[in-house]
């Protein structure tokens, strides 16, 4: 009897150790993968980075490639998208948490937001092309691309704002109402300042997504490399860093440039992730106070 028990115990212990080891291996595998990606991309990309590459535009005359227009286009894209998506997303979140009473409308809006976050970017690109570029006659332009990305990022900003609005204590609102403030005044002076955490988090997440987006921009913003100012740039076609990486790697076989862009994108991704982590920690600590 005892030996059977001992045997069962031994099997049990083996199972436990095995599961632990498997867990450890999976985690180590993921870390190794990330490490490999970082090292590989930096090793291939950084030697190709030069001031000349970063500060010029492509020239057929001298046969050189520069990615300054692509960098600027990315910045324009981020600015234009955020300008539109922030008021829309924050407004929708305020409506849901402060105004909405009809459960059906709330359910419809939340269902719509979930649907939007599940739609693949290539479909956004297609609809953006049909609606913004063709129907609204914007042609292939950064503005059409930015508006497409606005729809894509709307659920993100909405959700993060909603989360932070939930942390504004109900007593603050009641206090303000009790002092005789109207609803709009309460929102303006109590609710909106309270959701700044969510807006900042939403901004960071959106910037990350805009930096990485390519499929939605291919047919809406196009892949031109002209050097433009902000307003001029919005009206004309232009490739962001990701789109130009794709074009250089897949269509032109310029792998050196592609890896240089990949290295820049990795650095930016690292920065965005770091920022998101720091901001998240900071907000958590402030909430505890």
């Amino acid at each position: 009897m005892r030996s059977v028990n001992a045997q069962i115990n031994a099997i049990r212990k083996m199972k436990i150790v095995l599961l632990r080891v498997l867990c450890g291996i999976s985690a180590a595998f993921t870390c190794a993968l990330v490490l490999f990606l970082l090292v590989y991309i930096f090793a291939k990309g950084i030697p190709n980075l030069s001031w000349e590459l970063l500060s010029t535009e492509p020239s057929y005359l001298s046969g050189t490639i520069g990615i300054l227009p692509d960098i600027l286009n990315t910045v324009y894209m981020i600015v234009a998208t955020l300008v539109f998506v922030l008021p829309l997303g924050v407004g929708a979140a305020v409506y849901l948490t402060e105004y909405a009473q009809n459960k059906r409308i709330v359910a419809a809006i939340e269902y719509a937001a979930e649907t939007l976050s599940g739609i693949p970017s290539i479909i956004y690109g297609l609809v953006g092309m049909l609606f913004f570029c063709q129907f609204l006659n914007m042609q292939t332009s950064l503005l059409a691309g930015a508006l497409t990305l606005v729809i894509m990022n709307l659920p993100t900003v909405m959700r993060t704002t909603q989360e932070s609005l939930k942390t504004v204590p109900q007593s603050y609102r009641e206090g303000a109402f009790g002092l005789g403030a109207g609803k709009w005044r309460v929102i303006r002076t109590v609710v909106l300042p309270g959701c700044i955490d969510g807006v900042i988090t939403g901004c960071i997440l959106s910037v990350g997504r805009i930096l990485g987006e390519s499929a939605a921009l291919l047919f809406t913003a196009g892949f031109a490399h002209a050097l433009n100012g902000f307003l001029e740039g919005l009206g004309s076609a232009g490739a962001t860093l990701t789109v130009s990486l794709y074009v250089y790697a897949k269509e032109q076989g310029e792998f050196g440039v592609a890896f240089a862009i990949a290295a820049i994108l990795m650095i930016l991704t690292l920065l965005v992730n770091l920022l998101a982590m720091l901001v998240g920690r900071w907000f958590k600590r402030r909430q505890k106070l």
């Binding site: 199972k15 436990i16 599961l19 498997l22 867990c23 291996i25 999976s26 985690a27 993921t30 870390c31 993968l33 990330v34 990606l37 991309i41 291939k44 008021p87 829309l88 929708a92 305020v94 409506y95 402060e98 909405a100 409308i105 809006i109 719509a112 979930e114 649907t115 939007l116 739609i119 693949p120 970017s121 290539i122 479909i123 956004y124 297609l126 609809v127 709307l154 109207g182 609803k183 709009w184 990350g208 990485g212 390519s214 499929a215 291919l218 047919f219 990701t242 789109v243 990486l245 794709y246 790697a249 897949k250 592609a258 990949a262 994108l265 990795m266 965005v272 992730n273 998101a276 982590m277």
Partner: protein, 287 residues
């Protein structure tokens, strides 16, 4: 007083409109896809469009069958999920329950970095490392294949699966685990036999989310899958639903272009089905 009321109503109206914009966007997308996607299906015939295994859009006698794309998307997604379910499951249990705080910070940092890397960067690395690697390892003429796409997809959707599973595992009531521990089960046994079954709806939701991500991915897959409209073979050049649209859109016209919109409609229907499944599991895990 009256003026004040009118003003408040006006503000209320503005916020209502802002709230309804999301609904409007979904309606707009659905409407555009249906209106743009139906004509080609009607011209080609639904059965021919969905089940004809030959796509030759630029031939003199064009044939528009998207069966190869549908099968490739299904196989590619299934392959990526098969790889990811065991790995993602183990990592989530490890991170949510077992790992010491320091290791957890490092590994979850790595996972969120994996989620943030742009898909074209995955595509580039896949093109330069994976494709030649597969060619040399399996001695085939070209490594750009369904297999390469499956591996890239598996890496790309891993973070979504892990993050949702962790959330589900962390939501398991502590009493369940305490009870199991008090009965003499070890922590590892408790986590795998009590916490995991308790979080199973959430973990199912994570897998469904991964399916949605995989079936919708376009750019990375386009760079490693070879892009020929063949019926799927593990080491053959293939084209997905997403890449079928992306690769011909820039030069298409007429019926060919309309057929691309119809592909988008098919993909959209797939995604709506997946979303419905996702909602089902998420709702159940909340209960």
């Amino acid at each position: 007083m009256k003026k004040q009321k009118a003003f408040e109503n006006f503000i209320h109206g503005i916020f209502l409109i802002l709230g309804l914009i999301t609904v409007g966007c979904v309606l707009l997308i659905t409407l555009y896809l249906v209106v743009a996607g139906i004509p080609a299906i009607r011209k080609i015939g639904l059965k021919d469009f969905l089940f004809n295994p030959k796509w030759a859009s630029t031939a003199s006698e064009p044939s528009y069958g998207i069966l190869p794309f549908i099968l490739t998307s299904v196989y590619g997604t299934a392959g990526a999920i098969l790889i990811d379910v065991p790995i993602g499951f183990l990592i989530s249990v490890y991170l949510a329950k077992l790992a010491p705080a320091k290791i957890r910070t490092v590994v979850s940092g790595a996972v969120s970095l994996l989620a943030g890397i742009p898909s074209v960067v995955y595509g580039l690395v896949g093109m330069m490392v994976l494709v030649p690697g597969i060619r040399n390892l399996f001695h085939i003429p070209d490594g750009a294949s369904l297999f390469a796409a499956i591996i890239v997809l598996a890496i790309m959707i891993l973070p979504s699966i892990i993050n949702v599973s962790i959330t589900a595992l962390e939501a398991v009531p502590k009493e369940y685990e305490d009870a199991s521990l008090a009965l003499g089960a070890t922590p590892v046994e408790t986590y795998f036999k009590v916490s995991v079954p308790a979080a199973k709806s959430g973990i199912a939701a994570a897998v469904v989310l991964g399916v949605g991500r995989a079936i919708g991915e376009a750019m990375a897959v386009m760079m490693v899958s070879g892009n020929a409209p063949n019926l799927p073979e593990l080491f053959g050049s293939v084209r997905f639903l997403t890449t079928a649209m992306a690769s011909e859109m820039s030069y298409s016209s007429g019926l060919q272009r309309q057929a691309l919109f119809s592909i988008a409609l098919v993909l959209f229907l797939f995604i709506m089905l997946i979303n419905a499944a996702l909602n089902f599991f998420l709702k159940r895990s909340k209960e």
